[in-house]
Amino acid sequence: MIEGILVEGLIYGIMVLGVFISFRILDFPDLTVDGSFPLGAALMVQCLLMGMNGWLALLVAFAGGVLAGVVTAVIHNQLRVPNLLAGILTMTMLYSINIRILGNRANVPVLKQETILSQVTERFTGIIPDDYILLVFFVLVALVVKILIDLFFHTDLGMTLGAMGNNEQMVVSQGVNPKTLKTIGVGLSNGLVAISGAFAAQYLGFADVGLGQGIIVSGLASVMIGEFLVLKSNKIGVLTICALAGSIIFYAVMYLGRYYGYLIHMTPSDLNLIKGVLIIILLVLTQAKKFKRKVAFKPMVAK
């Protein structure tokens, strides 16, 4: 059971990293995620059904996610639509597109085809205990993604993206077009979300248009749980590991809710309520934490 929880947390962790980039680094509340997650899943499944190599299919899913993000950024930048609405528009349009990609069906299974996961399982059977093959694999995948993100935000471009989320005027003053930066950032974020969706589809064995419903809320909750783990840090390496840890904790709670919720007469449909309440509690706690810090600081200043 524990490996199942961890695998789920790691798969969705890639999505959480994407949400972390848009919400926290770019300060761009991007709701495209609800559409780009199933987009990644749909592209992956459809490519596999066409007989494409799994890794190539993953690349297609990533490209699709990036494109979705770029559409949101362009709607926001060029048509001057508020970022929240731009994301909702893309997300809504993606619902229809995802059904088209799945061949006018809402749910397509991918059980008989060879997937990245089936290849990996086959390759390592006997070397690693069966139950742990996927866990080891996803730990590696999540780490690679995390390290790539860390490296990206250490480059000049990555740092400028970080500065934009903090102070857009500064970026403009440096002669950089903030619109270009937003397009890159939101594109990258949704590319990651689509990769997460692609892995989720392989893990679950199907792609479903409903896969992305409420995913942004889960992602945000995970990011906030992660932020709760450490005091403020400006190290991107720390922040990304926190986002992953937050994801694992959040999905563990959801997993337990799904399997043992019946003990307290909870049904899976109650989970969305739980997610919302969880975020509200986290918001209140964060504010209380800030307030406490301020109060504790005052006497020191008075001295």
């Binding site: 480059t155 740092m159 500064m170 970026v171 003053s173 440096q174 950089v176 077009n177």
Partner: protein, 265 residues
């Protein structure tokens, strides 16, 4: 260098709130000029800067930068040549990033690519330059800028802007939000950098003695017009009293003109 030809800016054109912020401004800034600008609130000083920097597109007229028409260029494109410091000391730096990261972003203008230019050689270069501020910041390279005071951040913004070697710098009351001691330090640094790097600069100030003390040329603005433009020896001979007298004289004259206009009507 930079030239404004018949530049006018009207806000809310065609409504009851119509406001002529700049009217028919003609200004030629020569290379190496250090211009101080004074004027009461609403005189159009900040609008003038916004128009030069590209935040506002003028309603009429044209702006030339080194002979090239830049009237319709967006702000980020002009920012490659124009450095600007605002009154708010937080606007020039990213608070949630470390000092060295901030300096890496600002040391060169223009789009940033997927390379890492921050290395030990750069760190040494940054430290060497930071010593000029004499604030001990060279020992705090890894600290987030939220930990720095407003004066330190403004001094830093100034240094970072100077290092990117802009063709023109715009200082929009950049010491007004600082305490007197820090304001003085930042102003001294400003003067030092402008001399050392021979920067073409324009500085808005509310302090008349500063306007007289610094620079080689002085502009006085009122109601969207440049009412007084003095440079060279004449500028050196100015005193606060003379300036106030001049100001009253000019304002009185316009006032009288208005009255005569009204009576003729």
């Amino acid at each position: 260098m930079i030239e404004l030809k018949n530049v006018s800016v009207v806000f809310n054109q065609g409504t009851v709130n119509e406001n002529q912020a700049l009217s028919n401004i003609n200004l030629k800034v020569k290379e190496g000029d250090f211009i101080t600008i004074i004027g009461s609130n609403g005189a159009g000083k900040s609008t003038l800067f916004n128009t030069i920097a590209g935040t506002i597109i003028p309603t009429e007229g044209a702006i030339f930068l080194n002979g090239r028409n830049v009237t319709r260029d967006p702000e980020y494109r002009r920012a490659k040549y124009i450095g600007r410091i605002f009154q708010n000391p937080l606007l020039g730096t990213a608070g949630n990033m470390s000092l060295e990261d901030n300096m890496t972003i600002t040391h060169k203008k223009g789009f940033k690519w997927l390379k890492r230019s921050l290395n030990n050689k750069m760190r040494e270069y940054f430290k060497g330059e930071l010593v000029q501020l004499r604030m001990g910041l060279e020992h705090r390279m890894k600290e987030n800028l939220v930990m720095f005071s407003g004066g330190q951040r403004q001094a830093l913004t100034l240094l970072m802007m100077v290092l990117s070697k802009p063709a023109l710098i715009l200082l929009d009351e950049h010491t007004a939000a600082l305490d007197p001691k820090n304001a003085e330090i930042v102003l001294e640094l400003t003067d030092k950098f402008i001399r050392e790097y021979r920067l073409t600069s324009m500085m808005i100030t509310h302090n008349m003695s500063h306007a007289i003390e610094f620079g080689n040329r002085l502009l006085m603005m009122d109601k969207g017009e440049i009412i007084f433009d003095v440079e060279g020896q004449a500028k050196k001979d100015l005193t606060v009293e003379k300036l106030i007298q001049k100001f009253h004289e000019l304002r009185h004259k316009t006032f009288e003109n208005d009255r005569t206009l009204l009576s003729e009507d």
